[in-house]
């Protein structure tokens, strides 16, 4: 979590869910892609983080 900008996960979800259209699982794939590209630096070393998505949805879910 960044002291001022917040967590990469919540910030990325909010950005993708408000600016992109598509089924939720595809939006979450975009969240994973963006987070996988990012390099976070902690104690001078690069750290990587990716969300884990587990779904039991039976249909496509659109929130827009």
């Amino acid at each position: 979590r960044h002291d001022k900008d917040g967590s990469s996960f919540i910030q990325t979800v909010a950005d993708v869910f408000t600016k992109k259209k598509g089924p939720v699982l595809e939006l979450l794939t975009e969240v994973t892609r963006r987070m996988a590209e990012a390099e976070l630096v902690q104690e001078g070393r690069v750290r990587k983080v990716n969300p884990e998505i587990m779904s039991t949805l039976r249909k496509r879910l659109y929130l827009q």
Binding site: R1, G6, I10, T18, K48, E52
Partner: protein, 181 residues
């Protein structure tokens, strides 16, 4: 000779989202710098997606459970049909656990259970989204160089790395703890 099978396109069945959309955000902000920015971003997102969101800050472990039960009662008592629930949980945590502001741990499964098809009639067969912003352990991922050719990658001005655990789909025959028939 066997006839060649012609695969058909998937049916585009979607969830009906014409009813009410309710969200609950439970967030421990104490000793979690940056939480306010997350709460602001979520509020904007819920407004745009037409979710009626309730935010509770700094719940204790017990209050995490109580707020989920209250949310379930709100959903079941809602005057119009409900289409979808969206729950965001933010706190310190460990695998399967969230830590309340009082340091009491609460099991994530207990929180999820409040809205399952058995316990929440209003959401039976309807989509429920849970997002958890919390640690699930102590491991740090340093990533791996993309491409596999370490020498070539090291020559790049900006070496690219990829997380260790992407590009995998986990599909189990049944839920954790359940029999597979």
């Amino acid at each position: 000779m066997e006839a060649e099978i012609q695969p058909q396109p998937l049916e585009e069945e979607t969830y009906d989202m014409s009813g009410a959309r309710l969200a609950l955000t439970l967030c421990v902000t104490e000793e979690r710098e940056g939480s306010e920015a997350d709460l602001d971003a979520l509020e904007r997102m819920f407004r745009q997606l037409r979710f009626e969101n309730t935010t509770k800050e700094n719940p204790t472990g017990q209050q995490f459970l109580e707020e989920m039960r209250t949310f379930q009662e709100t959903l079941d008592g809602w005057a119009e049909p409900v289409s979808c629930a969206f729950v965001v949980l933010m706190a310190h945590g460990d695998e399967g656990l969230l830590k309340g502001v009082d340091e009491e741990m609460v099991e994530l499964d207990s929180l999820f259970a409040a809205l399952n098809n058995k316990n929440c009639a209003a959401l039976r067969g309807k989509p429920k989204l849970f997002m958890v912003q919390a640690c699930r352990g102590e491991h740090r991922d340093l990533g791996e160089a993309i491409g596999g050719d370490q020498v070539a990658v090291m020559e790049q001005e900006h070496p690219q790395t990829i997380p260790t655990f992407t590009d995998t789909v986990h599909v189990y025959a049944t839920m954790e703890g359940h029999i597979a028939y």
